[in-house]
Symmetry: C2
Subunit: 232 residues, 2 copies
Amino acid sequence: MQRTRGRAPTGGRADALSQELIVEAAVALLDELGERGLTFRLLAKQLKTGPGALYWHVSNKDELVALAADQVLGHAFAADPGSGEDAGSGLRALAVAVFDALDRHPWAASHVSAPPTLANALRLLDRIGTLVAGTALPAERHFEVATAISYYITGVSAQIIAPRTVHDATVSRDAFLARTARRWEALDAADYPFLTRATEHLRDHADRDQFTTGLDLLLGGLNTAAGPRPPV
Amino acid sequence: MQRTRGRAPTGGRADALSQELIVEAAVALLDELGERGLTFRLLAKQLKTGPGALYWHVSNKDELVALAADQVLGHAFAADPGSGEDAGSGLRALAVAVFDALDRHPWAASHVSAPPTLANALRLLDRIGTLVAGTALPAERHFEVATAISYYITGVSAQIIAPRTVHDATVSRDAFLARTARRWEALDAADYPFLTRATEHLRDHADRDQFTTGLDLLLGGLNTAAGPRPPV
DNA sequence: GTCCAAATGGACCGGCGTTCCATAAGCAAT
DNA sequence: ATTGCTTATGGAACGCCGGTCCATTTGGAC
């Protein structure tokens, strides 16, 4: 068992390895090859070292992927305009920033976890909580509402984005949707009254709009629960 | 490449294998050992056969796990009271039934996917859509709202339940929450104003309540968007 | 120069998903 | 019964992976 956080006491070597370097290279490989394509052997080769060296900085593959996903989550903060707005639009902007960040790195979607331990997941929940606290909502509900919104953002993003890592390698999105639509149409209308009529909406929907539709419902409910706030 | 759906033309053998039998055994192993514990070798041994035979009925492990997760999703319909209510409470009951089903089989949480191809995922979306269609909501919004609710149910359940498959093996839930709370308290209050004060809520929250909190916000927003409906 | 902890990297292990293929079992026609 | 073909079986084998081990190197402290 070795230390996970190898901190270089002073200068260190010029070509020194570090957890940051490793995670960075892992993100690059994950972007290119997906989760199945990331192996310690390949990663080691990219970094011109052996697998054993990587384990000095990272305890196992699960941790490595979690760190990589958290780094992707961090991209959202770069895009987010930050404070200076009312809670509703601030939450909306933050949520969309997270969605877009995961959209650019689909492999990460299924690895952002809600009870935050990692740095950027923590930042996200704190930001949401601070925005919620700026609402007329009673204080004792802040935590549960903040986590609910956080769960929505990461969970629904994952649901929408993660499937892409499976199909995209083989067929295009449009082809997949068309095939699914055809399958729905072939269902028994008595058993599936809704789906058999919904196929046209399936074909030309935008993933991002589906995310914002639910988000707006949620935030709308929040507005109602908090009592109608007077616009500034 | 072999046929995935081997259909027994007539009688077949007494000890014949079938996809159903295999999925059933897989669910049992997943419940007991988790996803990492399910291997084709072990599954074959349980079924008194070899790994090769399984591949006649199931094309690979991903498909097997997806089928197993879909079967778990099917449990939700057994618990769901069904129609006969208004849309709001019908959706709520259905959502909670799904959450509880996944709660009993945590490994399945991260494998229920939203764009439904599998049998029970299809049934779920259709049921949601039918309930939404019974709302005052304009018809052209039925699809996007139904999928939004479906995304919430599966995505948020996954976020809440899936982490359990990691911790539970090593530490109890309470111990994990206590440790996380301590970590949050140790954060810089200037950087994390919300989290440093929220730890007491973290310690004694109930997972299921977090699910319903967001659900009620979402359904509340739906009610508002649909216009207030007169109670029957 | 000497020493030691930090860090490296390549060989190696056990086990996995998957494939291959020789064989068995059931069915239909003779 | 015999034959011929499809369906299905199951054990051996392949290639690769995550992870461990450990001899070796590095570079700062003295």
